[in-house]
Amino acid sequence: MNKLLFLIPLSILLSSLLVVSFLIKNKLEYSVSGNKSFPLERPMETTFHPTHSGLNIIVLRLQNPQLMDYNTYTVSLLGEAGNTIKKLEFNAQNVGDPSNIRLQFDPVSNSTDIRTLRIDPVSGGKLHVYIDDSDQISFTAYYRASTFQISWPQFSDLAFFAVWLTLLVGLFVTYLKWQKSS
């Protein structure tokens, strides 16, 4: 068996990366993932400082308990001085118990000026917002890339990748030894 066969899984991974990079123009800007549901009774703010211009999608994790809420809510993206850079609205009828709600809009050219994301409550509203352990609002933001970019995943879990690579290298070395002995 040819040693070059070991490059097949790598080529599957790289071709998958090329496909998604070609198909998807909206790239990940920022993400906070939380699992605590918190009632929206006062304006809730979270620090958000995009590093790319062209912000165009915000995905919020929300809960409309028993689907009873029919109010319209406002999400604001604020600058350093508290000025509104983008205001977005959504209706709680589109929120599940719980679900993600995707707000897509024209790319914001000066999105690097954004410093804060805020959600305002509505009188009598029942909506819940998901937050993480640091009380940051759970959301994901994307920007529209103006040029072709490879969507490199975040390889930030170094401990895992160290173990995983060691395992794979160990298998490859074992293969070479066995092949030599046979």
């Binding site: 068996m1 066969l5 070991f6 097949i8 899984p9 790598l10 599957i12 991974l13 998958s16 990366l17 496909v19 998604v20 990079s21 198909l23 998807i24 909206n26 790239k27 990940l28 993400s31 993932s33 699992n35 999608i57 994790r61 118990d97 719980p98 679900s99 993600n100 995707r102 994901t140 994307y142 969507s151 995943p153 975040q154 390889f155 930030s156 879990d157 895992f160 990748f161 995983w164 395992l167 794979l168 298998l171 490859f172 074992t174 293969y175 066995w178 092949q179 046979s182």
Partner: protein
């Protein structure tokens, strides 16, 4: 010639390399539900019904042994996955944006990959010649159905598949009792191995009392696991009477007056009567088992991973009598069925750990011109390939 051991090492490398990078929510949901075993919950069906705050990802729709197996795996996986693992499991079906996503996917799939690798080893042991062993291993590990089902979407169908292969291995060692027990255990994870039980019982003996005894012995493990829940309406609704369980029996030919003939049971009965008249039942058993599952899948609206059920027996058939065209048609038509499946989680969604925005892409079927019934065509070609293989299986003599 490549030694079988080298193929197993390469397959291990292949599956462990790919498994962290592809996602499907089903396995995550099963682990999420099964974590409640550690909290002392035995009846997950009524627990979820009574605690809707824990059922945001849906109900548990698999038999009780599945809950038990993943409930035992969960604390082991959690040790290596880290403190945020449990809260990630509770998140929605698109929760791929987390720094630990690759670690989670690797750990969730690792038990499946190991069982898949061992199942390949068991299949290769059906053959004495090293060349046949190498061919059977290559066919089992490096076909699109295995790679997609185990390494890409991580479906636990490999567990009942393992039990059906173990059952056949025990049958060949003339350990008939344990062979049918294995089928019962497989059926306790996903019900389909019960379709094979009459054939194994029939082949194990020439005497009807012994055959009936073995058939009952095969049912016992299944009954042991489901009996405590049989009066629970949540279990009946979500498992026994679920749409998934009924799919194999929904294909009908109308005979008028609102009545019909169920195709899958009719075809299996034909195979059973045909098998009952064979003289060499023991040696022909694997081929009839492949025919049963192929015929059942050919006229069912199956989930792509269900085809793995038939694959071990198809691999045994093709190793004995290698045929290119049925295999190519079978694989390509399966890929077409998958490509036209109107479910983005099965298609673009698997790439979401690499790029989470793939969930927003339209499914392939939604952008195809509606001049042709694409899904029906793919199903029809798959049915043709399956029946072709089933006929070859029934015709095959040692």
């Amino acid at each position: 010639m490549t030694k079988p051991a080298n193929i197993i090492i390469f397959a291990t490398f292949f599956y462990l390399f790919l498994s962290p990078f592809f996602f499907h929510p089903d396995l995550k949901i099963i682990y999420h539900h099964s974590q409640f075993l550690s909290a002392g919950v035995v009846n997950i069906y009524s627990f979820l019904a009574q605690n809707p705050e824990h059922s945001s990802l849906g109900q548990f729709v698999y038999p009780p042994l599945t809950y038990l197996v993943f409930g035992i795996l969960f604390p082991v996986v959690r040790i290596f996955a880290g403190s945020e693992f449990t809260s990630w499991l509770a998140q929605g079906n698109t929760a791929v944006v987390t720094p630990f996503i690759f670690r989670y996917l690797f750990l969730l799939k690792l038990p499946l990959v190991l069982v898949h690798l061992y199942t390949g080893y068991l299949i290769s042991r059906f053959f004495k010649d090293q060349r046949d062993q190498a061919l059977s291993l290559s066919l089992w590990y490096f076909n699109p159905i295995s790679i997609y089902t185990v390494a890409i979407i991580g479906q636990f169908d490999i567990f009942p598949v393992f039990f059906t292969v173990a059952s056949l291995a025990l049958f060949h060692k003339k350990k008939f009792f344990w062979s049918v027990v294995c089928l019962g255990l497989g059926a306790s994870l996903k019900t389909y191995p019960l379709l094979l039980l009459p054939f194994v019982s029939l082949a194990a003996s020439e005497k009807w009392p012994r055959r009936i005894g073995l058939f009952i012995a095969g049912l016992v493990p299944y009954l042991i696991f489901i009996t405590p829940f049989i009066r629970d309406p949540n279990f009946i609704t979500n498992v026994l009477a679920s749409g998934l369980s009924q799919r194999l029996f929904s294909a009908e030919v109308s005979i008028g007056f609102d009545k019909g003939v169920m195709l899958v049971p009719a075809a299996i009965l034909v195979l059973f009567f045909h098998f009952a008249n064979q003289k060499e039942k023991m040696s022909r058993l694997p081929y009839y088992l492949s025919a049963v599952l192929l015929v059942a899948l050919s006229v069912s609206h199956f989930h792509p991973q269900w085809v793995l059920w038939a694959l071990p027996f198809v691999v045994i058939l093709l190793t004995k009598r290698f045929q290119v065209w049925p295999m190519v048609l079978f694989s390509l038509s399966w890929v077409a069925v998958l490509a036209f499946f109107p479910d983005n989680f099965l298609l673009w969604g698997v790439l979401s750990p690499l790029e989470p925005q793939v969930f927003s892409l339209p499914s392939i079927i939604s952008i195809m011109p509606d001049t042709l019934p694409w899904q029906n065509l793919a199903q029809t070609f798959f049915a043709a390939a399956s029946i072709w293989l089933a006929v070859e299986a029934v015709k095959h003599h040692e």
